[in-house]
Symmetry: C2
Subunit: 159 residues, 2 copies
């Protein structure tokens, strides 16, 4: 069991103020993972890891996630070549989220749609939202053609 | 219904490549929210928003979350004074996560334990994890005393 790789959660003090890695996986066995570009500080993606993905990321220094849409362990970049090398891996106060600072191979992109960051659109603020609200694109062009890279693999986005 | 503030999700193309805000809330009615410091690029926290928290954040330009431990709408900084002013609010490709770039009032801290970032500890990489692994502190001291700021309010960390 890969879960035995981690410490047991025994107290709030241990979890918040200690030196033990005692991650909390949710009811689906997952922990949230925020990934930022180590050079720009931009958030590239928000993914999820199960215990095996977290252990693989720690062991290899390359980002592994759990694909919720494909339901498989996902070595990021295995298909696209856009591997994420972990420069720093952090755990948060209550140990239910991790933050990966990464260097991305190749073009540096991390989004399956073709953009550098999955967060390529801004939401205008300052008034109450309504369905007519218009998102603003923050990346002017894609860095790669998804159909060339992924072929006819199913799109992971679910409605 | 605050949900009617947003567009309905009708197609993958609309969600990924369109200009409509059509967020996907999970089975608990929540969307993940990554918050970074607009100056340092550091990830400060990972929180969650329900539809009301997202709408309030958009309308006011100040970060609102849903507190999963207290089960209330949470205007960040209402107790501590450490309000998060949103400089840029982003939505990701499949619209199930948001990224807030913020300026934090006061000392600039965002973590209830007293640190600037909730992610104040690193996980060493390069070998398989085991329970003896030692987290490395990346912040040498707290910016505030949680007992002074929060008094005897219940700690939000759950085992």
């Amino acid at each position: 069991m890969v879960e035995s790789s981690f410490a047991k959660r025994v107290s709030v003090e241990q979890v918040e103020e200690g030196h033990e890695l005692a991650p909390k996986f949710d009811e689906h066995g997952l922990i949230a993972a925020v990934t930022t570009d180590s050079k720009t500080g931009d958030v590239l993606m928000l993914g999820y890891m199960n215990a095996e993905a977290l252990a693989k990321t720690i062991e290899t220094g390359e980002a592994h996630y759990w694909s919720r849409s494909r339901k498989v362990l996902w070595h990021k970049g295995a298909t696209s070549g856009l591997v994420q090398k972990v420069v720093d891996l952090r755990i948060d106060d209550d140990q239910d989220a991790v933050w990966l600072k990464v260097e991305v191979a190749g073009s540096g992109a991390s989004c399956h749609v073709g953009y550098m960051s999955c967060f390529y659109r801004s939401i205008p603020t300052g008034q109450a939202p309504k369905p007519e609200l218009q998102l603003q694109y923050q990346e002017s062009s894609k860095t790669f053609d998804p159909t060339e890279v992924y072929g006819d693999a199913p799109n992971p986005t679910k409605l």
